[in-house]
């Protein structure tokens, strides 16, 4: 019977590792796919979106499209984005936002784009098609409601954030834990919840599987 116990243990660890690897895969942009980052400001999605540009920035220029004129490149550099390869495009005019985004999709390999409130569904679908055609890895952060169904390949919704390090006047902010929910085709039609830890340095990593989501068909 000890042999049986050992083999069971290995099986459990392997399946946990598989799950963790899959969840870490959510934190990498895929060429030609749109990843939607959905959640209220303050949950850490800007930093996560910038973090998604770190790997593509190793091979060429990457762009953060800033509709609020508030994005700080310093946070992106901290997450591993190559400073010389990060370009910030500031567009606070919703009427030309889709044109600017389309122009960028024609040439850059990776884009983090804030989507202004009131962006037209038709434009968003066209942009997603353009991203697919040009094989651009895109993260979109809607400022209002979520993207229309079918636009995003993977949706990452922020459910909550907790901070460690600050304690009633002592210490300083050090570590953030962000609970995310992954859904859509990129999550194989299954809604999954997981937690990522951000220590403010290069590393943003998956730390646990908080609640297994129930299986259902993908939307879009």
């Amino acid at each position: 019977m000890p042999d049986r116990g050992v083999s069971l243990g290995i099986g459990t660890v392997a399946s946990l590792l598989d799950q963790e690897r899959r969840e870490e895969g959510y934190l990498h942009l895929q060429p030609g796919r749109v990843t939607e980052l959905l959640g209220v400001p303050g949950t850490g999605l800007t930093r996560l979106g910038l973090r998604l540009l770190a790997t593509p920035s190793l091979t060429g220029p990457v762009v953060a499209l800033d509709t609020r004129r508030w994005i700080s490149p310093e946070a992106a550099w901290e997450t591993g984005v190559i400073p010389e390869n990060l370009i910030i495009v500031r567009c606070d005019q919703p009427q030309i936002w889709s044109k600017v985004t389309a122009a960028l999709l024609e040439g850059v390999r990776a884009l983090y784009a804030e989507v202004p409130v009131g962006a037209k569904e038709q434009d968003l679908r066209r942009l997603a098609a353009l991203a697919r055609a040009r094989k651009v890895a895109v993260a979109m952060r809607p400022m209002g409601n979520g993207l229309p169904s079918g636009v995003a390949h993977l949706r990452l919704r922020a459910l909550g954030v907790t901070w460690e390090g600050a304690d009633q006047g002592h210490g300083q902010l050090r570590k953030r834990r962000l609970v995310l929910e992954a859904s859509g085709k990129g999550a194989a039609g299954v809604t999954r919840r997981f937690e990522v830890e951000d220590e403010g340095s290069h590393v943003v990593r998956v730390v646990s599987h908080v609640v297994p989501g129930e299986a259902r068909r993908a939307v879009g």
Binding site: V40, P41, G42, T43, G44, L45, T46, R47, L50, L58, T59, G60, P61, V63, R68, R69, W70, I71, S72, P73, E74, A75, A76, W77, E78, P83, E84, L86, I87, I88, V89, R90, C91, I96, K99, V100, A103, L104, L105, E106, G107, V108, R109, G160, V161, W163, G165, A166, D167, Q168, G169, G171, Q172, L173, R174, R176, D198, E199, G200, S201
Partner: protein
């Protein structure tokens, strides 16, 4: 001088032609202390009486074209470097005309006839082994008397180190050589080449080659015919706009093919077939490998010169650009970098910049400072980085600790915070109040009292919807960043 004779230049006024540096000036302006290559602002300050015009190399090429044609009538295979400077390989022509002296005087005479009609016109002819030496032979020649150099190595060795400035484009390296006691190219050529290559890399090696009279080495590999690009036009191109578009597209295609083969051209041959006439061909040369912009500019200048001078009757029916003198000197990429993606991204960013204006596309550079607003030096994409206002390598005690807020307003935003006994209890976000779950600080920020700035305290406030960096000054709270 080609810039001085342009049609829109006032004929009697002192003239200063500039791009970002001085590229042409009349004698009275030069007498005021202005020198070619001087920064524009400095020159404008020294000669406020001069009329300032922006350089138009396309126009200069157009007016230089008759000179190139006149030389080509005497000696084939003229290579244009820029409007005003051509190289001509003369070994065949020397045999035909019966000697270098006869040939040089013939060219000089023809040039004097043509150039004499141009304002401040001056034709200088030099003969030496290789383009670098020939250029300096011409520069050091007297007007009306060709400078024929018999001992090229000896001639080069007497040149001042500054002769390398244009070919190397590395002022710091030249300054370093001077600091080491090297003042002429002869001094430099006497140094061991291996030592220069080890200490200064490729620029050092190139400097030594030029100083030794070897000129720039190019790859002597045979150029596959399919690297040349051409385009035929059913409707011959007659309008300048259509020609410009075709020139740019063809130059892009050529360089894309060359990049894939890992080489870059130092010389290109541009051939245009006229719908109703003989084909025209011209060779352009560059010391550095042609970049996409440099090549499209030259193709455009050449075609414009031909079209405006009526050199392609009936319009252009076929265009061909063929590379020559290839080298592997291109842009040095990182191990993982991909040239195609960089070029495509640059085009996309240029389009975004056209939509948003130059301030819409930015790059940040780290600099010193205590607040997140201060720690990024912004510059427009495509322009040189601005100098950092605060030294990044200096110690900055009291810097706001990392992680940095991902959202930083350009200026501090008023924020409503409620306090209880010096401790923050809740803050207002939009229309609702959020309780402060925990907080850290205060960290004192001492302002520049001599500039009227007040001291302030910084706090990190954590709520259920995120964390915020807050500055409190004179009893008022401000938002300095969102840890989003």
């Amino acid at each position: 001088m080609w810039s001085l004779g342009r049609p829109d230049a006032p004929s009697d006024d002192p003239l200063l032609i500039v791009d970002d540096r001085v590229t042409g000036a009349t004698k009275d302006v030069l007498a005021a202390g202005v020198a070619l290559g001087m920064p524009r602002r400095e020159a404008e300050a020294m000669a406020p009486f001069a009329t300032v015009l922006i350089r138009d190399q396309g126009e200069e090429s157009r007016r230089f074209e008759p000179v190139v044609e006149a030389i080509e009538a005497l000696i084939p295979r003229v290579e244009v470097v820029s409007p005003g400077l051509v190289f001509v390989p003369i070994s065949g022509a020397v045999r035909f005309y019966g000697g270098e002296v006869v040939l040089a005087e013939l060219v000089e005479k023809e040039m004097a006839r043509l150039v004499g009609q141009v304002r401040c016109g001056l034709a200088l002819v030099g003969v030496a082994d290789g383009p670098f030496a020939a250029r300096w032979a011409a520069i050091t020649a007297d007007a009306g008397r060709p400078n024929i150099v018999d001992d090229t190595i000896g001639f080069i060795s007497r040149l001042d180190l500054a002769a390398l400035r244009e070919s190397l484009n590395a002022d710091e390296l030249i300054d370093t050589f001077r600091w080491l006691g090297v003042s002429t190219l002869g001094d430099l050529a006497r140094l061991p080449r291996e030592a220069l290559a080890t200490r200064f890399g490729n620029p050092g090696l190139l400097a030594h080659r030029l100083a030794s009279g070897e000129d720039r080495l190019v790859d002597s590999r045979e150029i596959p015919a399919d690297l040349a690009v051409d385009a035929s036009f059913e409707e011959p191109l007659e309008s300048l706009d259509a020609v410009a578009f075709a020139a740019r597209a063809l130059a892009e295609r050529l360089l894309r093919g060359l990049r894939a083969a890992g080489v870059a051209p130092h010389r290109v041959s541009i051939l245009a077939e006229a719908a109703e006439g003989a084909p025209r061909e011209r060779i352009w040369r560059s010391a550095d490998p042609f970049t996409e912009k440099a090549l499209s500019d030259r193709v455009w200048w050449q075609l414009r010169a031909w079209v405006e001078a009526g050199g392609v009757p009936g319009g252009i029916s076929r265009l061909r650009i063929a590379p020559a003198d290839l080298s592997d000197e291109g842009r040095q990429l990182g191990l993982l970098q991909d040239e195609t993606s960089i070029v495509e991204a640059e085009r996309a960013l240029a389009r975004a910049q056209a939509l948003l204006g130059p301030e819409g596309v930015l790059q940040g550079r780290a600099q010193g400072g205590r607040m997140p607003q201060e720690r990024v030096a912004w510059s427009r994409w495509g322009e040189p980085s601005v100098e950092e206002e605060r030294e990044s390598s200096a110690p900055w005690p009291g810097t706001t600790p990392s992680p940095s807020p991902a959202l930083v307003p350009p200026r501090l935003q008023p924020l409503e915070v409620e306090w209880d006994g010096g401790m923050p209890t809740r803050l207002r976000l939009g229309t609702r109040w959020e309780p402060v779950l925990t907080w850290s600080g205060p960290w004192r920020l001492s302002g520049r009292w001599w500039a009227g700035e007040q001291d302030a305290d910084r706090y990190q406030l954590v709520t259920s919807v995120g964390a915020f960096l807050c500055v409190v000054s004179e009893g008022r709270a401000f938002l300095a960043g969102v840890y989003d």
